[in-house]
Subunit: 283 residues, 4 copies
Amino acid sequence: MQRITPNVQYGDLAQLDSPSNKTYTILLLAGGQLQTHRGVLNHDDLIGKPWGSQVYSHLGSSFYLMPPALGNLLQGSRRNTQIMYPKDIGFILVTMGIGPGSYVLEAGTGSGVFTTALAWAVGPEGHVISYEVRPDMQNLARKNLEKLGLENRVTLKLKDIANGLDESNVEILFLDVPNPYDLLEQVYAAMMPGGFFGCILPTANQVSRMISALHRNNFAFVDICEIMLRFYKANPNRLRPTDRMVAHTGYLVFARPFLPGEAPPVIYPDINKEEPPVESEAE
Amino acid sequence: MQRITPNVQYGDLAQLDSPSNKTYTILLLAGGQLQTHRGVLNHDDLIGKPWGSQVYSHLGSSFYLMPPALGNLLQGSRRNTQIMYPKDIGFILVTMGIGPGSYVLEAGTGSGVFTTALAWAVGPEGHVISYEVRPDMQNLARKNLEKLGLENRVTLKLKDIANGLDESNVEILFLDVPNPYDLLEQVYAAMMPGGFFGCILPTANQVSRMISALHRNNFAFVDICEIMLRFYKANPNRLRPTDRMVAHTGYLVFARPFLPGEAPPVIYPDINKEEPPVESEAE
Amino acid sequence: MQRITPNVQYGDLAQLDSPSNKTYTILLLAGGQLQTHRGVLNHDDLIGKPWGSQVYSHLGSSFYLMPPALGNLLQGSRRNTQIMYPKDIGFILVTMGIGPGSYVLEAGTGSGVFTTALAWAVGPEGHVISYEVRPDMQNLARKNLEKLGLENRVTLKLKDIANGLDESNVEILFLDVPNPYDLLEQVYAAMMPGGFFGCILPTANQVSRMISALHRNNFAFVDICEIMLRFYKANPNRLRPTDRMVAHTGYLVFARPFLPGEAPPVIYPDINKEEPPVESEAE
Amino acid sequence: MQRITPNVQYGDLAQLDSPSNKTYTILLLAGGQLQTHRGVLNHDDLIGKPWGSQVYSHLGSSFYLMPPALGNLLQGSRRNTQIMYPKDIGFILVTMGIGPGSYVLEAGTGSGVFTTALAWAVGPEGHVISYEVRPDMQNLARKNLEKLGLENRVTLKLKDIANGLDESNVEILFLDVPNPYDLLEQVYAAMMPGGFFGCILPTANQVSRMISALHRNNFAFVDICEIMLRFYKANPNRLRPTDRMVAHTGYLVFARPFLPGEAPPVIYPDINKEEPPVESEAE
C-alpha cells in the first residue's frame, strides 16, 4: 500500500493484465511462477522491469505489468459471503470520515473485504477492531489481510457483540450483520456520542426495522441511500452504457448517537403526513 | 481530522445541527460566537461539553453539538465552480488507490473541494500537488484548506499544465479541467507507467474525445462510469425514496499509462464497425 | 383524439408553445381568447392556419400552434392528488394489454388523470369503469374527461369497492388506492381468472403487505418494478443529463388471479428462509 | 387482441405458465399439440376450460392457462435484430399519442416487434405504414404480425426512405434506423407540421448528431431521455431489487416539425453557457 518505486521489486504486489482483460494479482517472490492458460511467467523475470511494461509468457502471450488497484485487491480476496462493492465502500469512507489515523470498529468481519478496505484507509497510524462469531470466516479474513500485509492494523475478535463490546467511546462503528436493529443497545454503549454509525442492509424490510430501532436507541440524523453504478463501453464513436449492470447491493443507513436532552430531535418529520404531490420535470 | 477527545476543546471543528436540519460548521475559538436565526451561541459555553450533547442558543433553541462529517466539511467549503460530490469522491479514492501516504497530483485546483478531500485522504504522510491557472481560485482553495488545517499537506501551484508539469514518475494524477484530452502528452510525461489516471467530465462529447485521446497517448484499461445516488425518507412505516434527486454530476474516466511494446492492448475492440468516426462538430 | 386535419378547426384542442417552453393547451371556440403574460391570442385568428405555424399575440410574441401531445393533456388536467406519470402509464398500458376495445375497471378515480389515459387508450370501442368514494374528486375527474371529450367512454361510480364491485369477469383491473391489500377479496370476486391486475404504491411497506395479500388471495405471477426516467439537455455539443430528476413516483405491482388447483404456484420460493415475517409495525 | 370470453375457444392465443416460470404462447387449433420438456398438452383438451385454470401435461406436470400479456407476445416474436423493450414502447406510445385510430409511419420494420406494438395500439380503425430495405426482415415481420392476426393493420413497404416517402401530411412518424440524422429532409417532407417525430438511438454520438440535424431541418421541441426499469424480488419479508438489470437499451429522441417563421424557436438555449452549479439534495 506504500508508495511504490518505478521498478518492480521482490515483495511487490503486481497485477498482470492480458489484452483479453483477464487480470492476475500476485505477490512477487524469488523463484515464483504464475501459471495462466496463455503460458507461464517467472517472477524472477519481472524483477527490475519498469511498471507499465509489456511482458511475455513462455508461449509469447503479452501482459501488462501494473501495480494493483485497490478495487482489484478487494475483488481478489477469497470470500464465502456477499461482499461489499467499491461503489459502497468509497461512499461509506467519505460519509463516515474514515481516513488516516481513524480508529474504527466493525462487526461482522465476514471474509474481510470491508475489513481490508478499512485497514487500507486508516493507514499505519489508525486501527480497526473487527468482531466475528464464526471462526472459519475469521480465519479467511486473516488470510486475506495477511496477503496484503495489513494484518497489523486489525484486531480480529471472535465474539458475539450481542453480549456487549469491549470498547467504549468509539467514534466510528459499522455493522454488516443481518440484524443490526437487535444490537443497538450494545452499539450505543460502546460509542462516543456524536460519533458516526453506519450499516448496510440488503432488504427494505430491514431498513424499516432499523429506522425504528435507531429512534428508540438515541440515534439521530438518519440518512438512507442506495448507490447505482453504471459503466460505459469505451468506444469513442459508439459511446453508450454497458448492456447490463448490478441493480442492487444494499441500502446504506447512517446515523449518529446523541446524548438525550429535553427536546428530542425530529427523526422523521413527515410521519403520518400525506405525501406531497410530485411535480414533473420540465427542462 | 485527527481522532477527537470525548469532550469538546478549543480548536475543534464542530457542527451544530438544529432539529430543522440546518447545519452550522464552526472552528471553536476563545470568545467566538455563532449567530443563527434561532439565536446566538458562545463558543466558550460549548468547551468541555461531551460531543453529542444538546446545547441551547440565547433564545432557547436547541442544537446538537457534533463532530463534523467529512461530507459536511466538503460541502461547507466556499466555492465558485461546480463541485465534486461525495458519491464521486469516494469512488475515485477507492478506484485510484488514494489513501494514507499517497502522493497525488491534481489539476485544476478550483475552489479546492476535491483538493481538500485528497489532503484528508492522504494523511500527514502523504502529499498533494495541485495546479491552477486562476489566482482567485487558488486563494479561495487556500482559505478552504486553512479552515480545516490541511494546508501543509498541499502544494498549490499557479501554472498552466499545458506548459508541462514539474513532476515526473507521478503514480496518481487526476484532472478536473474542461479539456483533459488536450493535455495528455504533458500528463503522460509526468506519470509513472502503470500509474493511475482519472478525470471527471460533465458531457458525453468530452468523454468521446477523451477516449480517443487516451488511445493516442499510450493509456490503456479505460473505465468509464457514472454514479447515481438516491436517498430515502427515513420514515419506518412509509419507506420510500425522496421525490427528487441529482440526475447527473459527471462521467468518471479512469485509465492507466503504459510503456508501448510490440503488441498494443486492444482498448475498444468494436471500433470501426458500422459507424464512421464522429468527432462532435464544434465545441 | 381522432386524426386531425392539416389545418386548425373550431373544436380542436390546440397547444401554444412559447419559445420559453411555457405551453398552453386550449379548446378552440368561436370568440374565444387566450390570455398570456406575453399578450392575447384570439381563437378566431387561429382557425384555418396549418398546424405547426408560428402565430403572434397582440404584443407580437410568437407561439407555435401544435396539436397537443397526450402527455400535455394528462399534465394539463386539474388535480388535487398525486398523479401518475407518463413513464408509469405507458408501461402499465403495455404490461396489462390495455388498448383499443379493452374493458378496464379502475379504483379510485382521483382527479382522473389515469382515467383519462385509460379512456384514450381503449378508444371508442372500449370502456372504463371507475370507482371513487369522494364526490368532489369524481366531479373534478368528470370535468377533466369532458374537456377532452372522453366522458362517454367512462362510467364513473361513487361507491366504496370495500363493499364489493358490481362487475364480474373483469379482465383488466387497476387499483390506485392507499390500501389495495385490504380489497383483494372483492377484486378477486370481480375478476376473470387469468386476467390482469395492477396497482401503484408509493412505499416499500405497502409493497410488502401487497405481496402477502396477493398470495393469500389466489393471485400469482407477481411482478414488482419501478421506472426511472432521465432527461438530457438537447445541446449537441454538450450532451448530458439534466441536473435533477424525479427520484420516485411509485412501485408498480402486477399479478394475475388464478383458479386454485391442486398444485399452487410457487410465488416466492425463498420465503421463510432466514428472516422472520415482519409486518411493518404501525401504519 | 379483442376482449376474450371467460372460457377458452379455438383460435384464442393462450399462454401456458409452468411453476418454474417457463412460458409457452400458442394459438389454439383443432388437433394441435404443445410439446414441452414436462410433457405434451393437446389443444383440444384445453378448449372450454375457464381462463386461469390449472391444466396438466400427459406427464402430470401442471400449467396455468392464461390469456397472453402483450409483453409476452412482443417477446415471443422471432427476431434477428435488437428489439425494443416494453419500457420504451409504452413511453413512446404515450408521448407520441399513438392510440386507437392513429395513422403511424415507421422505418425500418426490422423483425416487426415495434410494428406489432403499433398495430396493436392503433386498433382496427388505425393503420401502420412500415418501410424496410431487407426482404428477409420484412418476411420475418410479416410472419410475426400474421401469428397475432394483425397483418391487416399494417402496410409493409420494401423501400429505402432515403429515396423519399410515398406519404405526406403524416402526423406520427418513428425511425428505428442507424442513421436517422441523414433522413430528416425526407421525413420533414412527409410529415404534417406540428406532428410527432421520434427515434431510438443506442449511442450518445448518434444523439449529438441527431440534435444538430433536427435543428437544421425545422424540428423543434426536442426531448431526449432514457428509461431505466428495475424489478424487485417478490418476497414480502425480504423486499429488494433483483441483483442485475438491463443498464441500457437506447436513448429516445422526440421532436416536432414546424413551419419556419420569422422567429426560430430556441432549441438549445444553454449552448455556450457555463453549466450551473448543482446543489446537493438535502431532505
